[in-house]
């Protein structure tokens, strides 16, 4: 079992930071000895959440995106938070293929990807105050070894 561990990362809402954020979380997660597939799931989910914060939360304006991650046992929890405009209708935003920005050729799959690749997903949002996406995943590679 890995002891409890925690990290916090603060980035500017720039699209160049999407790859930086997912690589940092993946590096943090690697202490749980995940499989290549599990690591790829984490990277993709983080990428989706950070991209949402940049495009939808801040609508390309400058803002801060906070990424926090906690490891406990064989479970990783990741929180991606912005102080942007917030989501009007979370249920609708989470529908597959729904996008509020079809002109940008967004696929509308962001939340569906997070839901599929992670075990838990909770989205909290307040109009004008920002959005907090909390997701978690249990790595089975450690469990199988013990």
């Amino acid at each position: 079992m890995v002891e409890k561990n925690h990290m916090r990362l603060e980035i500017l809402s720039k699209s160049t930071n999407e790859s930086f954020a997912r690589v940092v979380v993946a590096a943090f997660a690697s202490q749980l000895d995940p499989t290549i597939e599990e690591l790829s799931d984490i990277k993709t989910a983080v990428s989706e959440a950070v991209t949402n914060a940049i495009i939808h939360g801040y609508e390309y304006n400058e803002g801060i995106v906070i990424i926090e991650s906690t490891i406990e046992g064989n479970r990783i929890e990741i929180v991606v938070e912005d102080k942007g405009k917030g989501i009007d209708d979370i249920k609708k935003a989470m529908e597959p293929f729904y996008t509020s920005k079809p002109d940008l050729e967004r696929s509308g799959m962001g939340f569906t990807v997070m839901e599929t690749f992670m075990d838990e997903l909770i989205v909290e949002s307040q109009l004008g105050n920002g959005t907090r996406v909390k997701m978690a995943k249990v790595f089975h590679s450690l469990v199988d070894k013990e």
């Binding site: 160049t16 290549i36 597939e37 993709t44 050729e105 967004r106 696929s107 799959m109 599929t116």
Partner: protein, 114 residues
């Protein structure tokens, strides 16, 4: 991300290398569209074999190119052998409307055989 393009008859062949996310799709979209329209092409092959990461921004990019090709009565296909890329392609339902092949030759032959 690196993008290499090649035109064979009326096919635009686009090979992606590296990571395809929101940041890198913007530039890829402009480059692909200008080559496709400036050369008056109808078909497109997207070679994803050298991608080591793709998220839903890549799905959006492929969906948009699919629409462009259909508008011109052209065909679009994907070449891919990477399991993590295949996973997200399958999840999005794109593989129900776009054929996936393991190499370029098959992708070209696949269409000629129709």
């Amino acid at each position: 991300m690196r993008l290499s393009t090649n035109i064979v008859k009326d096919y635009l062949i686009v090979a992606f290398e590296g990571e395809l996310d929101h940041h890198t799709t913007e530039e890829a979209r402009m480059k692909i569209d200008s080559l496709y329209y400036d050369n008056n092409l109808s078909n497109m092959i997207l070679d994803l074999r050298k991608l080591n990461f793709m998220d839903s921004s890549g799905i959006g990019l492929i969906m948009g190119r699919y629409r462009n090709c259909k508008e011109r009565q052209g065909d679009i296909s994907i070449v891919n052998t990477n399991p993590s890329v295949e996973r997200i392609l399958r999840m999005s339902g794109l593989l129900k409307i776009i054929n996936m092949y393991s190499n370029i030759e098959e992708a070209i032959d696949g269409k000629r055989g129709e």
